[in-house]
Symmetry: C2
Subunit: 342 residues, 2 copies
C-alpha cells in the first residue's frame, strides 16, 4: 500500500501555553522543578496562574508543535489530540489548522476545560512547565483515526501521554497499526521524569516498536539509568533504526546502525526561551528525513529549526522556515536506499 496521505500523523496532548517571565526566586518559593514538566490539578493551576506575571498565550503541546512545524515547512501532517469545546480549545484548533495540519479530533463537550501549560521562563531562557491536563485526559483509543495512521509515512508519538492509561492504550493501538501498515513509528521521550515513571514500558516500546527515537540528554540518561551520555548512546544504538539525541548547546548526535553523526549546534543564536526546542528539532529532522536526506542533513535541519524557536517566546515558528530549510537542503546529500514510499 503506497497511498500515503500524510507525511506525519502525531498523537499528543493538545495544550495552550501561557508563557511568562519569572525569576529564580519565584521558582524556589513555589517549589517549581526547574526545567521539568510537572502535572498540576485545576486548583494548583489556578493558584500558580495568580502568582504568574503577564502572559502570552500560544498553542502548544509537544507533538502538536512538531506537526505544526512540519506543515509550516511544507509537509503534510495530521494531529490527534483532545481539547474541550471552549475558548482555549478554539484557539488551539484554529492555530493548528491555520498551519495546514489536518485536525478533527472531536472536542470534549462537558466537565473538563482545555489543557493549559503555565510556562515560567527564567532569565537564562530555561522553561519550567506546570501542566493542567484537563480535556486531554479524556483522549482514548476511539479518538485515533486509524485511516490517518495507516495512510501516513511516519506516526509520531509523545511520551507525555504515558501518564494517562487510556491515552497510552491509544498510542499502543496506533503503533501496532502503523507497524502492520508499513508506517514508521517515531517516539519522543518528552521528559526525564516521565521516563522515570514508566521506564520499563518505554524500554519495551523502544526495543520492539520504535523506528525513530527522539530524546534529549536527560531523557536518554533516565531511560537507561546511565551515568554518562556515551554510556546511554551505546545502550540505545542496537534498538532503533534511528535515534536522534539532542544536547542543547552541544548540538545533537544521530545514530543509525554503524552510522554516528555528531552535529554541532547552530552558532550565534540569541536564546530567549527554550520552550519547544526539542519539538522543532524533531520537526526539522523528520521533514528532512521525509525528503530522503542523509542523516547528517536531518540532524542539521533539526538544529536549524531549534535555533529558530529558541530565539523568541513560544513554541511555534515565527520566521520563514521554508527559506531556512532551503538553506540546509542546498548543501544536502541523499540517504542510501529507497526509503521513500510515496
Amino acid at each position: 500500500m503506497s497511498d500515503r496521505r500524510f507525511d506525519v500523523t502525531a498523537i499528543g496532548n493538545a495544550i495552550v501555553d501561557v508563557i511568562a517571565s519569572a525569576d529564580e526566586a519565584l521558582l524556589l518559593e513555589h517549589r517549581l522543578r526547574k526545567g521539568a514538566m510537572s502535572l498540576v490539578d485545576a486548583a494548583e493551576a489556578e493558584r500558580l496562574y495568580r502568582i504568574m506575571g503577564p502572559g502570552r498565550e500560544t498553542s502548544g503541546g509537544s507533538a502538536a508543535n512538531t506537526v505544526a512545524w512540519i506543515a509550516a515547512l511544507g509537509g503534510r501532517a495530521a494531529y490527534i489530540g483532545k481539547v474541550a469545546d471552549d475558548q482555549l480549545g478554539d484557539v488551539f484548533t484554529h492555530d493548528i489548522r491555520a498551519t495546514g495540519v489536518t485536525y478533527d479530533t472531536p472536542p470534549l463537550n462537558e466537565g473538563l476545560s482545555t489543557a493549559r501549560c503555565l510556562i515560567f521562563v527564567t532569565p537564562d531562557a530555561h522553561r519550567t512547565m506546570q501542566t493542567f491536563l484537563g480535556a486531554t485526559t479524556r483522549l482514548g483509543p476511539e479518538d485515533v483515526n486509524m485511516d490517518y495512521i495507516a495512510r501516513s509515512r511516519i506516526v509520531y508519538l509523545e511520551g507525555y501521554l504515558w501518564d494517562q492509561p487510556r491515552a497510552k492504550k491509544a498510542m499502543r493501538d496506533a503503533a501496532l497499526r502503523a507497524q502492520a501498515s508499513g508506517v514508521k513509528v517515531s517516539l519522543t521521550l518528552s521528559d526525564a521524569f516521565c521516563v522515570d515513571r514508566f521506564r520499563d514500558e518505554f524500554l519495551e516500546l523502544v526495543e520492539h516498536h520504535v523506528d525513530l527515537l527522539f530524546a534529549n540528554e536527560a531523557e536518554i540518561l533516565s531511560l537507561y539509568q546511565a551515568q554518562t551520555f556515551d554510556e546511554a548512546l551505546q545502550r540505545v544504538r542496537p534498538h532503533c533504526e534511528v535515534a536522534a539525541l539532542t544536547r542543547s548547546a552541544l548540538g545533537s548526535v544521530v545514530l543509525s546502525g554503524d552510522e554516528v553523526h555528531v552535529i554541532d549546534a547552530e552558532p550565534g543564536v540569541r536564546v530567549v526561551d527554550t520552550t519547544g526546542a526539542g519539538d522543532a528539532y524533531a520537526a526539522g529532522f523528520l521533514y528532512a528525513y521525509i525528503q530522503g536526506c542523509d542523516l547528517a542533513t536531518c540532524g542539521r535541519m533539526g538544529g536549524v529549526m531549534a535555533a529558530e524557536v529558541i530565539g523568541h517566546y513560544g513554541a511555534r515558528p515565527e520566521s520563514d522556515v521554508r527559506a531556512l530549510a532551503a538553506g540546509v537542503l542546498s548543501g544536502r546529500t541523499t540517504r542510501g536506499g529507497p526509503t521513500r514510499t510515496t
Copy 2:
C-alpha cells in the same frame, strides 16, 4: 482633596488581542481597511478568525495597554473595563492585575463573550484590526468606580468607547466627576474613523473637558478636517492644556500654550509590529508627566516606550521598561510650577 490613590485611572474596552502575520493580498481579498480598527459582529469575527494565520494571544485594549505600561513603569494605576466570565476574560484579568493595575470591574455573566481583536500584521509592520466588542458593549455608568476617579491624579479615556452609548455616558460621567475633583482629564482619540463618526462630540469634549489630548496624525487631521499637519496643530493649540500628537517615524509634537516641542523618533528601531505604539507613547508621556518632568522629556519618554513596543509582537511591555525610563530621566529637567498634587 489631595488623597490621590492612583496616578492614572483609565476607562476602555477590555480586549484580548489575537495577533497573526498576514500579507497585503489577504487584506485586499477580505476588504480589510489597512491600518484602521473596524468593528465586526460575532459571525464576521468567526469568519475572519478562520482565514487568519496561527495567532498569539495577549491582553490588549488601548487604555488597558496604557495603564499596564504605567504600572510596569512603577506608576499606580486602575482600570475600568468589561470582560465576560470566560477563559479570555480570565486571561485579560490575570494579565492586567499581574502588572500591578487595580482592576475589579464586575465581569458579565451571561450572553456575550469577552471582546477580541483580530490583528493582521503585514510585512511592513502595520496592523489592521478587526474588533468583536462582545462584553465590552455592556460597560455602563454603573461600572465606573467614582471613588477611583476622584482619587486619581489623571483620568484617561479611550475614544473607541464613543461607539457605545452607555459607555459614552460612563465616560462623560467620569470626566465631569474628574473635573469637579481637580483630576486632570486625558483623552486618546483612538482612531481616525471613530473620530469621523463622532466629530462634533469629540470637538466639544476636547474644547471643554480635556486637559491632555493624545492623537496621531490621522486622528487630529480627522478631528479638524484639516489638510496638513500644521493646520491641525494650529487648530488644536488653544483648546487643551497639553496636546501630544504622534507621527510614527516622524516622532511627535507636544503643545502647551506657547510651548511647542518637536520630538524626533528614537533612531535604529527594528519595527516588527506597530500594535500598541500609541498606547505605549501615552503611558510613557503620562508617567513622565506624573514625575513633574518638562514636556520635552514627557515626549521623549513616550517615544522610548513606543520604540520598545514596536520591536516585538503584542502591545504590552516585554523588556525592563523601568531601566529605559531611568535612561530618559537621567537627562530630564522639571516643569515649572506646582503640578504635583500628592
